[in-house]
Amino acid sequence: MTDASADRLELRNVTKAFPGVLANDRVSFRVRPGELHALLGENGAGKSTLVKMIYGVQHPDDGEIVVDGTPVRIASPRAARAMGIGMVFQHFSLFEPMTVLENIALGLDERLSASALEGRIRAVLARYGLSLDPHRTVSTLSVGERQRIEIVRALLLEPRLLIMDEPTSVLTPQEVAQLFETLRALAAGGCSVLYISHKLHEIRVLCDAATIMRGGKVVGTCVPAQETPRSMAEMMIGGSLKDVRKAAAKGFGPEKLVVDRLTLAGGGDFDVALRDVSFSVRAGEILGIAGVAGNGQNELMLALSGETPVANAGAVRLDGAPVGTLPIARRRRRGLAAVPEERNGHAAVPGFTLAENAVLTARYRKGMVRHGVILGAVARGYAEEVIARFGVRATGPQAMAGALSGGNLQKFIMGREVLQVPEVLVVSQPTWGVDAGAAAAIHQALVDLAARGSAIVVVSQDLDELLAISDSLAVINEGRLSPKRSVGEISRDEIGLLMGGVHGEHAGGENAAEREAERA
């Protein structure tokens, strides 16, 4: 029985348990037709599990999912799509060497001729004012355009409920503005949107209602426009948020890290190399490097850390000395530490204890090895110190790194590097997937380390993070780095345009963020 006035989606006491955790504990909320509804919560709050159940990937242990007034069992994603539920995942599933049209055809449940499908795609594009060439090869598209493929794929099914999981984490501000236009048009047409994000200012400008989750439970609802990002963050973490304390006015010391015309050839067909990247970081300075993922950040990180030494020694200089050709261990001994973006399997070994993970990078500066023999007590002691000083929730130095939550492991990794007091610290995505409380602690540690006279480079896609902690900012796009600017002098819009770089599809996107701000 379908009731036209019923909620588009209602969850009644939905419960889902995994071994050892109650991922969702009697979750109930409603989404009205045409509503832009935000699902807010820290990592591990249970958002992903919840939407996977709505999309039929997982199944509730208990409780009811009601669509348009009818309780349903959603057996599979295919069944969900048949009920008018679409989903756009955070990570795209696209084949790079194939065209947009071919990619969309592959994801459809029904078989259509290429021309019929193209007609339907063009109709959807026209209806929502989206620009996308069905015959372009995916590898030539920007991330924003790739996301549009996923959105079109979902819209072709004329969904009545669209789930979007962290859709803006890879977009420039201008691309975000464009996405929001699309979502508003969708909502105006009666489609409900369930929007998952941790970017609170975006939720404020976009969403009509928000459900806040913590520890698998719904802990509150709000009208985002009536809240501040801070008040919503506090609801998410269930406590008050600490501000990053920065020394008011500070001078910088001598140049610690200098990168001089660093150029790297790309590895594969789709790799972005580095072209003439030059910058310097002074003692006490935090340099933020913004940019959309995949524009050379990984290559830059590897070249700076020394994981892949470069051919020209002078391209990377530490305290004036050329170190470009030195491998990572030698650079670390000289005081250049780095933290890569990926925690599991790169910055840490999941199957090793925290003490062993301390040995991985701190063995020389903390004297953990003598005559090739590991001094277990020293390693355990240092791991214990990191755990204590950085508030890592772990059973002790013998805990397996893989048993820690993402945020806790990130705190441990950051603590492991910061407590070695490196001369230069290069970090990528320091708070990726980390809850707000842990993020604040990590930011504070970076600011404090800089205050002690270290030079820090933070590579991040999170503009809010960079603006909060950096002294200066540069933007990387297609392997080129913009000149460094003081954070006070550069606007969010300028950064956005630099991030969009040569894609140049945002002619009308200028001042988009300001327009967004006015709406709010």
């Binding site: 995994f18 071994p19 050892g20 199944h59 069992r73 057996a75 069944a79 850390s305 994981e307 491998p327 990572i328 261990a329 670390r332 780095a338 890569p340 990926e342 399997g345 790169h346 910055a347 840490a348 070994v349 999941p350 199957g351 090793f352 062993e356 040995v359 991985l360 990078t361 063995r363 090895v369 090739g372 023999v373 590991i374 277990g376 397996m400 893989g402 048993a403």
Partner: protein, 353 residues
């Protein structure tokens, strides 16, 4: 519908209990299978698994079989820990034995304390050189070491046949394809009540490798490269060096084990020298959880099946393949048990729309 669901943290107890369960399952299923084939299955299981352990005079036989298995498996496990899959220990074992034989024949009718150590060095170096070929191919040309090391085994065996049929054939041997018998200076000392010197040496090697793997940077490097290659690079460990290290360690220990066999139980080089220790050691390495001390226990278990298998051929008329069947079954059950250690089986109700 049955599905496998990854366990968050595999139980540590179960990780070590799995090999025990695999052995028990082998005994039960092996007994049933051989009963079905018309043998006295459970007598066979008792003869193969129990009798060698409770018969004191068989213990020397156990040591004889276990020592090479433990040595080779310990070396292989170093590589397996680093995700370097040296499957050709049998070939490295043969080449080690051949090199030692070469030294023995070159020092024919000489005496001196230095002859045996020289043979040991030659054996170990030859094994390392043989394993160095896959290492070179892997690090230079990215050739899969599983294939290259395995294929080199057959090259080594052919080399053995050529040597004993040609240049090294015993001039006083009535044209049999075998070398001269080694002299006392070329033989491993025999310790009465224990066996050849390689038995205590295998124990010592196992302890040394355990220390290296658990407590030193060398072992740490190998373990990191195997567990997380990206983290190893981040930690400053070269994957190329680790591949070399792993293959040389495995080849060296296999070569030395080969020399010990040649200068011990065989006392000469014969076409029957390749007995499959190099392959059985793979089972030993996994049954022992790639842990040097676990391998020690696993080596004894596999030695039991060898000794028991031989005995049951005469006492129960079991075919000689029975030993291989039991050994393979053990590996199979171990792998099956491992799946259940890491994953749980769940019965999922089929959800209908």
């Amino acid at each position: 519908m049955l599905e496998l669901e990854r366990r968050k943290v595999p139980s540590r107890t179960m990780i070590w209990l799995a090999p025990v369960l695999a052995v028990l399952a082998t005994m039960v299923v092996g007994g049933l299978v051989f009963s079905a084939l018309g043998y006295d299955g459970f007598a066979a299981v008792r003869a193969i698994f129990i009798d060698p352990l409770i018969t004191l005079r068989k213990w020397q036989d156990l040591g004889l079989k276990a020592a090479p298995l433990v040595m080779i498996a310990t070396g292989l496990a170093i590589g397996f820990r680093a995700n370097v899959w040296n499957i050709g220990a049998e070939g490295q074992y043969v080449v080690g034995g051949l090199a030692g034989t070469g030294v023995a024949l070159a020092t024919w009718e000489m005496t001196g304390w230095w002859i045996l150590p020289l043979m040991c060095i030659a054996g170990a170096l030859a094994g390392m050189a043989w394993a160095g070929i896959p290492a070179l191919l892997r690090t230079r040309f990215n050739v899969n070491e599983i294939l290259s090391s395995l294929m080199l085994t057959y090259v080594a065996v052919q080399l053995l046949y050529y040597m004993v049929n040609g240049p090294w054939k015993d001039p006083d041997g009535f044209n049999f394809p075998q070398t001269r018998i080694f002299t006392d200076a070329q033989m491993l000392p025999y310790l009465s009540g224990i066996g050849y010197l390689n038995v205590p040496l295998a124990l010592v090697i196992s302890l040394v490798v355990w220390f290296l793997m658990a407590r030193t940077m060398l072992g740490f490097q190998i373990r990191v490269v195997g567990a997380a290659p990206m983290a190893a690079r981040y930690g400053g460990f070269s994957q190329r060096r680790t591949i070399w290290l792993a293959l040389l360690a495995g080849g060296g220990l296999a070569g030395l084990a080969g020399l010990f066999e040649a200068a011990g139980p065989f006392g000469q080089m014969v076409p029957a020298f390749p007995t499959g220790y190099g392959f059985t050691a793979i089972i030993v390495a996994f049954l022992g959880r790639l842990h040097p001390l676990g391998i020690l226990a696993a080596g004894i278990i596999l030695a039991v099946t060898y000794v028991g298998g031989e005995a049951s051929q005469s006492s129960l008329g079991l075919p000689s393949a029975a030993t291989g069947v039991f050994q393979s079954m053990m590996l199979f059950f171990l792998l099956a048990a491992d799946v259940l250690v890491g994953w749980r089986l769940r019965l999922r109700r089929r959800v209908t729309e």
